[in-house]
Point group: C2
Chain length 418, copies 2
């Protein structure tokens, strides 16, 4: 099956937004084996949209439209397709009820033009919109399948995954089970990881194996096809076992885990509390932890010690340590960790100090970071990073490495099941 | 002049990356008055690329290609155009010298296929690539102009701005000066701002006026055309004066200013120091300040007071205040601001407390935030927010509103020139 994605919206042609919908849908279609040969972007203009549809019909079996399903006069995707295919627009009752409810809940009066959003192509399969008002549609003719999806990504993405994708699998007369599983790594570069699993990458068939890097993290996506879920999962498990055998120590989690959510789970499961004293990261470590709901049971609080004076007077860092080793040193990071743990009375204390850049700091070049960890009754330990990014990349990397090292330590201490 | 942008690359059709080049080029073309009617994405396939070119020739005068100029066999943009237009590929000496130098500098041996990058279409204008090896090209025939640009944004964007745009202005026979100026707002919604300047939006000609909203901020871009820079700037100034007259109190800066960079400038200029006690934002406020280089002169440090216990024992918040008014209250926010200012001995103290969500907190529904500001000898003041976003949107909004209110206060106190 050959697909083309047509995004409708003048805001795309004015360069106000990127066509991220095409990227999302393409990656989803690649997973289920549908080839995408073209993306087209066209403005809110019925004649040019019609031309685009005619061109797409020549070169694709499946045409997926995004955008132009809203309430205003500019929104004309379904109207244009309706005319072109000679299919009436009819009211969808469920969509109408949802729209009326929406306005009641918001205590706003529904204007007449909003009813237009409940109109769907006669004979289509309606795709429910759980995050907005305009429903999606799938209409199959003898020669083509037309899928209409809303433009806003927060409406389109869940609709595609949970409504559209199963329908497309049916269209493919595909009873195959397709199962994906993501292994998440930290502390290893993409190139190094690829080298370690090169033979697996070269010989992949089923499961397929796809590496992806972003923000200093690397993931491997394993995708298996089979007749049954059980068999697909067994295929994934076999390949995963081999990967863990080779690079398991860099694995921090799976699928939707994040470094911070993984840390939260382990802290809460083991009833551990944490505090931090942050210098170069200036609160970013604790903010990243608090970004995960439910962190309140483990994260007590801590200190931002941007100046030397605050380190000494507020946190209680021994002035002699700073004098002898400077603020960017393993000694200072460990002392910060010990002091904050003591002061905030937690099981774990973290100290982060370094030179974010662009300038050096504490006699160290930009990118030097020391991470101190004080854990229970153990002597404090510290880790050095030599980062080469820009200021805020370095700050974020320092935070992620801190979580990574802490996860490794907790695992070594038998506190974490990974 | 009508333009079409054709992006060449199978990685786009696999959904590995978004077509951000089309967004960038479109916004640049909009500024100089060239209409973009279509974007097309096509894979690394010569037949399908040729089809796309033929379609584009029917509906555009200017066809801009991105990608497919590299050294590998997959890269075939210029080869396909060369055949189609019957124009030879010839070596460009400058590009060849640059490529040889590049490999010398990197101490790497140049492989034969890299020479291919120095080939350009006979008779074209060569666009220098300052950030990579493949040069760009502009070839004008009787009926069309073909512009070929490299795919990597870090090469394409500067090439477009500094090499391609002036050439396009010449193509337009346009000696006009085009000047853009951005006014940045906070604390006013896009809809409200548009209402206040609706007549200016409706009647815009020169300068043009374009609103844009993102991350809770709104900007207005003023773009003027004229024969001279002086006159273009006068046109912008006249419209800006009218805008400031109506909604000036929501303006926090211009062009590349950010809320945090603006605050840094004002703090440093007035030799003011700042500390913060953060509950729901858990360090995000201070981390956002520290994200701006040079903040060290003003930001001393502060405290993350995630639990009630830490608020009382570490920060010194009066327990009776929490008992009587709860942790999410104006009284608690003000007390936090006063205590942190005192403890860290700064000119300004900030207290942020609230319920980020998804659950409520301190007897308040999710999205309730209190921001306390203690400034010099003034009595502390506080601001309430009722936010409706997700957890981390609310946390970021709370931070931005804190900076916004602080900027307003400093301006009222005569500390800021805006």
């Amino acid at each position: 099956m050959k697909a083309e994605i047509i995004a409708v919206g003048s805001e795309l042609l004015l360069g106000q937004i990127s066509n991220t919908n095409a990227r999302f849908i393409s990656s989803q279609l690649a997973e289920i084996g549908i080839d995408v040969f073209f993306h087209t972007v066209v403005g809110d203009n019925p004649n040019r949209l019609l031309d685009s549809i005619k061109i797409a019909e020549e070169r694709a079996d499946l045409i997926i439209f995004t955008g132009g399903l809203g309430p205003t006069k500019d929104d004309l995707t379904k109207e244009t397709i309706s005319k072109h295919l000679n299919k009436k627009l009819v009211f969808d009752e469920n969509a109408m009820i949802f729209i009326e409810d929406f306005f009641k809940r918001m205590n706003r009066e529904m204007t007449e033009n909003n009813k237009k959003q409940a109109l769907v192509l006669e004979g289509c399969t309606v795709l429910e919109n759980k995050h907005g008002m305009a429903p999606g549609m799938l209409l199959a003719t003898k020669s083509h399948a037309y899928m209409l999806l809303p433009g806003p990504p927060k409406e389109m993405e869940p609709m595609f995954q949970f409504e559209a994708k199963p329908l497309l699998l049916k269209l493919l007369h595909n009873e195959t089970v397709i199962m994906s599983h993501v292994i998440r790594f930290y502390g290893i570069g993409e190139a190094e990881l690829e080298t370690k699993v090169q033979d697996l990458l070269d010989n992949q068939t089923n499961p397929t194996l796809a590496p992806l890097a972003s923000d200093g993290e690397v993931t491997l996506r394993l995708t298996a096809k089979s007749d049954t879920e059980k068999d697909a999962w067994q295929k994934i498990e076999a390949l995963q076992a081999e990967i863990l055998h080779r690079v398991g120590k860099f694995v921090y989690g799976y699928n939707n885990d994040s470094l911070a959510s993984k840390l939260r789970d382990i802290l809460i499961e083991n009833e551990l509390t944490i505090s931090a004293a942050e210098s170069m990261t200036a609160g970013l470590f604790q903010s990243e932890l608090a970004a995960v709901p439910g962190m309140g049971e483990a994260l007590v609080g801590g200190m931002i010690t941007y100046t030397e004076d605050v380190k000494i007077k507020q946190l209680g860092v021994n002035e002699a340590i700073i004098k002898e080793f400077s603020v960017v040193s393993s000694q200072c990071a460990e002392e910060m960790a010990v002091r904050v743990k003591e002061k905030f009375n937690t099981n774990i204390g973290i100290g982060i100090t370094g030179a974010a850049g662009p300038d050096g700091h504490g006699g160290q070049p930009a990118g030097t970071v020391w991470i101190g960890i004080a854990y229970g009754e153990m002597a404090p330990i510290s880790y050095k990073l030599n980062l080469s990014g820009m200021r805020n990349t370095n700050r974020l990397r320092a935070v992620k490495f801190t979580i990574h090292y802490l996860l490794q330590l907790l695992r070594e201490q038998g506190n974490a099941r990974i």
